[in-house]
Amino acid sequence: MSMYNNAETSPSQNDLLYTSLSKNIKIIQQSLGHSNDIIIREIRIGEAEPHSLAIISIDGLSDKTTISDSVIDKLMANIEEEQDIEITTINQYVRNSYLTVGDVTNIEHFTTLYSAILNGETVILLDGFAEGIVTSTRSAKDRAVTEPSTESVIRGPRESFTETIRTNTALIRRKIKSPNLWIKSRVIGDVTQTDVAVMYINGIASDKIVAEVLARLDRINIDGILESGYIEDFIQDSKNSMFPTVYNSERPDVIAGELLDGKVAILVDGTPFVLVVPALFTSFLQSAEDYYQHWMISSLIRILRFFGISLALVAPSLYVAITTFHQEMLPTPMLISIASQREGVPFPAVVEALIMEIAFEVLREAGLRMPRTIGPAVSIVGTLVIGQAAVDAGVVSAVMVIIVALTAICSFLFPAYGLSNTIRVLRFPLMILAAMFGLFGVMFGIMVIILHLCSIRSFGVPYLSPFAPLVLQDQKDAFVLFPRRKLLTRPRLVNQKNIVRGHNYINVKNRK
């Protein structure tokens, strides 16, 4: 694989392979700590002048069938027939004539040898040659491509990414069969040596953003990358912002759509969650299915989501503010009804709200972490404790239960999980502001949040665009969704050069 030749570390002199096979083997075993999953198979080829060679691989990472059928079998069976091999060129014979494996490269350094076998390749070392032959024997011990578990749709593709980066790149390539779909790879993590691939469509994605992504990836200096969350944290613009400025998805169709918008995807080996930058606030409120169904319905659902996010954010604080400071705002029958439910409740409204919201968060978290079989038990306890018993016991009022339930349901409305977490957390400071200053406090909190949102950027693109700054032509795919025939141009602030989607829309280009 080309990756190993490009090994960026400049190898020192003692990193070079030796000519002596036994010395090489000894060093390899020492460096890998005599781990018992390293398989070193020594065989001799040729009868007249037997020549020893070693086949090195790691058990479990490499494909045993390929090794035995295409490597060992070939070498042992055929060498005998050709007696007149020149000793000096035997490595070329082995490489060119016997190995029936697709991908074969030469290496000269121990470091590249290690990374090869740790990636599941098999290395053949010949006695008398200070070089090794890498044969591609990676085994695809891969989870099958299954239905996405976090972003489900009714209508739309049923596939999701897996933990293997190759499968993931293939899933995207299968959607975008363009030679312009380019992949730039990096290996990040001093110890874990995790493969990271940056995917973009050349000619659509902004060169500046691609360069910036690669530069930020190159700056990462850490021992290990176990999930794309590590990368996200390293490359995001505002590290102290709770709002996610990197989008992620486990759906190939979503990623393909984002790539067509001119965005850049970052795939990390070992996780099905693929990152996308730049991420805008609106992306987190858009579902893949929006594009697969009628635009009017999608538009209505999007409005519903914007409504839901507001409700999830402010419902409890509005309740607290209105019932403790602005009772005059309620219609009289409603005031009397709420007042009757609050009769005998021992806590102030804000304490009641905090108790219920925290209880809900606890239940939610418990439901997530529990073994799946115990999950239903948690929800039963939850409904009984939070819903029925707490009201009957007079600890909380029934309205509060409704408010909490409403908030909870609304926070499940987001297609992207990342934003929903942020909103859930921001609820609490708003509730405290509401308890102290009433609606004044709530408005203050909301203004701070909006100002913050206006101030952050994702890879140079304002987070709140196309609302702030207002880009009129991008409103077609923001708060509402216009019919597909109107979606002729790519997002303005993400794309500067290639903004027109189809080749027959020249008019739009001229209009600019």
């Binding site: 019932t323 403790t324 400071f325 009772q327 005059e328 009289t332 005031l335 009397i336 009804s337 709420i338 007042a339 009757s340 439910q341 609050r342 009769e343 005998g344 409740v345 102030p348 409204a349 029934a398 308890a435 102290m436 200053f437 009433g438």
Partner: protein, 399 residues
Amino acid sequence: MAKLNWICLLCILTILLSGCWSKRELNELAIVVALGIDKIDEDYEITVQIVDPGEISMRQASTQRSPVVSYHSRGETIFEAIRKMTTIAARKPYFAHLQVVVLGEDLAEEGISDALDLIVRDHEFRKDFDVIMSHEATAKEVLNVLTPIEKVPANKLLNSLDVSEKAWGSTIAVNIDELVNTLSNKQKGALISAIEIHGDKKLGVDQTNVQRVKTPVLLQYAGLAVFKGDKYMGLLTESESKSISFLNDKIQSTIEIIACPNKGTLSTEITQSTTKVKGSFKNGKPKIDVHINVEQNVGEVECDIDLTKNKSIDYVNKKTAQGIDERVEKTLEKIQQQYEVDVFGFGDALHRANPKQWKKIKDEWTSIFPDLAVAVHVKVTTQGLGTLQNSLLSKPKEE
């Protein structure tokens, strides 16, 4: 930099010190829905009707407790009386949800301006409640009557005021803002709906009042009370009150009864009525033209009349117009001669018509008004006959 951050943090923290200022929990409030003001000697006696939310709510089974509680207290001023009330009430009265203010008849005779000052000045009162007057009873007695169906008597007061304004026309719901505006206009007289108690006043307090099929003690709107300045002058009868509504363009729907050509009666339902008041000056003499445009349906026929004929419809139109015209003129005369107060806003109409002339007569308006020439023109059109053409009576004769 770190020092600056600390200073900022301290500044923010000081905000927290004032936290929860003016906070009131819902269960610390006594929600006042009705306020009654009476005058006893030199003191004000106020009555507040407070809702017991637990009794109103649907959830709990009804106990024997009354849905509302009324508290009374006396003081030199209304403000004093209200604050004094905290010594007897369980919670501090909360006036933002006040629905209706009942002014006692005694207070009304002495003048209501002083009593309304606090209500208009205080920020806790929202200015969206109606004002009524108790007739032949004190406000305290009115607010001490339990009402069936509407658990909160204040709601009943408000609802029947509204409904009878819309479907009958003998009451006018007067908002506090309207009342204050009228009172501050020297040329105009105020009108307030008056309520009276039927039955033994003392029994209304009892829970039995709402437990029987036939309610022993009832609250009924008697008609409109006429105010001159801020003083109560007298009560108009129901039909006079209706005529006032016609003149003030307040009729939304009402009933008119006319006599048939050959004995019997016919009632019509007025579905729409618009009144235009036009002022004019002729040789410096003010004149008022009132155009009342009425649309009606035939509601009930208790005589032999062939409604399929245009002639009969013309007859109905003419008779209705005549009836309205007669009563309106009579009422006008009463108001002009007896009370001598412009409750119709004729002065405003003249002002609009000719501001210069109006300025000249403005100060003598009270003396001019009784002799003001008012011409009433009533026009009636009949739109529909209902789901029946001729009366059931007329059918057998044809066969």
